[in-house]
């Protein structure tokens, strides 16, 4: 019997997974053991609502050969990132990479994302309320979800092996695999709360703060600062997953804590990839930076050209020519 399988019991996102125009005709190549590092910069309005999301993603290919893959992302623009070995391509909801790695190749992209599609998947929500001459800033870990799980009596030796695999995966920063236990007797379904533990730190106005929000026991931090519309600047990163499995515990409690460890680690890994990594099972890290900043100004639309203004006129002229000319010609021919 497998422990609850994260892709089945947790939401599929993050990483971002917008609808794309279709898969590449050939399987992506060169996507094993590709470290992934991301920096997500979120622009905030004065009330804490995101007004822009920009990601810098850096991938390092460490072998000789061709590479071709696409990263799904709701992109507005795609630009080469610092030190990139080749420029990224862009399609609807995709960042494209294709080329040849001469042994080591760094690929870096800076992408502006559609806020409506990307902001709901950020790990933290910020809310600013005015109260008298003060502002209350609420920073909330929103990674929490309810997942389907179970309780049961399981074979303890097998369970300890599974715990070892999960701890090994955490140590090496890879996805945990092979998590099967032998169940004795009936299973009882239960719902469990799972969240990615986060450290949030930075400044609100002139006040510095740092807190760990595990998303289950502690979901938010409230900061009260003087004045209206305080400037916010903070960093958010996932932190180590708490391991509560102890051999002295009963097997049922050990199983519950093992499942908690497994699912919390899986949820943490989801937020370590805001954009999907080329190697989803490999090493990834993401830093989220939230800053109060002015709303980006959209480029003014181009003025409509004269041709489109005259569309109806051209249609009318076409109709006159289509019907009038043959008629006139026949009249002329009979004259």
């Amino acid at each position: 019997m497998s422990l609850p399988w994260p892709p089945q019991v947790l939401p599929q996102t993050p990483p971002l997974a917008p609808t794309v125009g279709g898969p590449l005709p050939i399987s992506p190549r060169f996507f094993r053991r590709v470290p992934n590092r991301e920096r997500v910069v979120v622009g905030l309005d004065d009330d804490g609502a995101p007004n822009s999301v920009r990601v810098q993603q850096t991938l390092v290919l460490k072998r000789l050969g061709d590479y071709v893959f696409a990263i799904p992302a709701p992109v507005k623009s795609v630009l080469p990132g610092p030190g990139t070995g080749s420029p990224p391509g862009r399609r609807t909801n995709q960042i494209l990479w294709q080329g040849f790695s001469p042994g080591i190749r760094r690929l870096s992209v800076v992408a502006d994302l559609q806020v409506a599609e990307s902001a709901p998947l950020l790990p933290v929500k910020v809310h600013v309320e005015q109260s008298g001459g003060r502002s209350v800033v609420v920073i909330e870990n929103v990674t929490g979800v309810t997942a389907k799980s179970y309780t049961a009596d399981v074979e303890p030796v097998g369970l300890s092996q599974v715990v070892g695999r999960i701890r090994n995966a955490i140590r090496r920063d890879y996805s945990a695999e092979g998590l099967n236990v032998e169940v004795h007797g009936p299973q009882h379904p239960v719902d469990v709360q799972v969240a990615a533990p986060l450290r949030v730190s930075g400044t609100v106005g002139s006040r510095r703060f740092s807190a760990v929000l595990d998303g289950v026991r502690r979901k938010e931090v409230r900061l009260v600062v003087p004045g209206a519309a305080p400037k916010i600047s903070m960093r958010v990163r996932t932190v180590a997953v708490p391991d509560r499995v102890r051999t002295a515990q009963s097997v049922r409690v050990q199983l519950a804590n093992t499942i908690d460890l497994e699912l919390t680690y899986a949820r943490k890994r989801q937020y370590d990839q805001f954009l999907a990594a080329a190697d989803p099972t490999g090493h990834s890290s993401t830093t989220y930076v939230y800053r109060t900043s002015p709303r980006p100004v959209a480029a003014a639309p181009l003025e409509a050209g004269g041709s489109s203004d005259n569309t109806m006129g051209w249609v009318a002229l076409g109709l006159i020519l289509a019907f009038g000319l043959p008629f006139a010609a026949v009249v002329w021919a009979r004259s």
Binding site: G21, L24, P25, I26, R29, L64, G65, D66, V68, V78, S86, P87, P88, G89, R90, R91, T92, L96, Q98, G99, F100, P102, G103, P326, A329, V330, W332, A333, R334
Partner: protein, 405 residues
Amino acid sequence: MRRLLLVVGLCAVVAGCGGDKSSDKTKTVTIAVNAPFSRTPYVGQTIADGAALAASKAAVDVNGVKYRFRIKRYDTGLSPSVAARNVRKAIAEGAVAIVDEGTGVDASWQFARDADVPLAVTYQGGEGLVDAAQRPNVFRIAPTDHGMAFRWAEYLIPKKLKIALITDDSSYGQQGAKALAEAFSENMDSVATKLTVPADAPDLSPQVLRARRAGATALLVWAQPTTIASVLSAARSSGWKVPVYTSPTGEDPLVRQQLANHPDWVDGLTFASGRPTAEVGAGPFLSFQRDLENKFGVQLVGVRTPDGAQVVQPPDYAMYSYDFVNVLAAAIQRAGGTADRKKILAALDQVTVAGANGDQRGFNENNHDGVVDDDVYFAKFDGMTYRPVKDDPLSATLVPIEQRR
């Protein structure tokens, strides 16, 4: 009554114009190939053959309507004004796309843009030719000059050579001169001299002598095939065994044909080009080559190896026009037919096909170049055939293509 019949007849003729002769269930669309068939026949022929092979195999089915493709050739004679005129004519004759060698594109792309017709360059790599933002209807499947020049710099600078950069005064040569100047601008210590030579000069001995006197220990020639042959001829006839590196025109059969009486002069000539095979191996390219030979025959170079075998030219540039026609067919499929040309242009940014060499081939919204700069490789001649060099990481991974028959 006569006048009535005349009018009815004219109306029928007018009604018949502007569309392809197709039944309700089958539409035939025309792709124009605009290339210098008369001046550089190898280039023109290889572009047209690649396009024609893809056209004969591509089949698009949209809601029960089958689209078939046919190729119509237009000769530019390497004249920009003729090339631009050809594009206007092809559009007037209903072409759905232009496959172009590159001459005259600076003028012709606007005619194509006004008609929402994609224009794909499949030979020249000039930097200004393609710009996804400024020239949204222009695409290219061919190595870029920028990519080749930087690959040359990356390959040659570590060899500690003093390089004479020789370009001719053709538009091809001048585009190359720009790309080389940019690529070597950070390492001028590696450049002995820069020379522009006349494209049609029968003898380049004085210019080659100037390069030698400037202390050059290598020649990097970016020019028409005849210029490359003349440079080789001038250097070797004076006993100068300087290594010669060239643009892709170095593999043009014309170079070997002109030097057929001195095959040893060609030995060591190294050129840059887009790689004909990918990591998947030579299988896809050989299969493409076989199909091309079955349809159009073997392309003999007209020279022999030292042991007397006939030499054939691998169809590396034919694969680019072949790939473009396939990308176009995929775009027409995605756009739901040929009625809305703007939709076809937009779809060209979104589709990918398996290329003739096994690579993925397609464009995107940022970049209308279908050959990435990484894919430039180097090959060296020995006995009138060439094989990838071993001292470059990409080239060393490629398998040689058999050129003996």
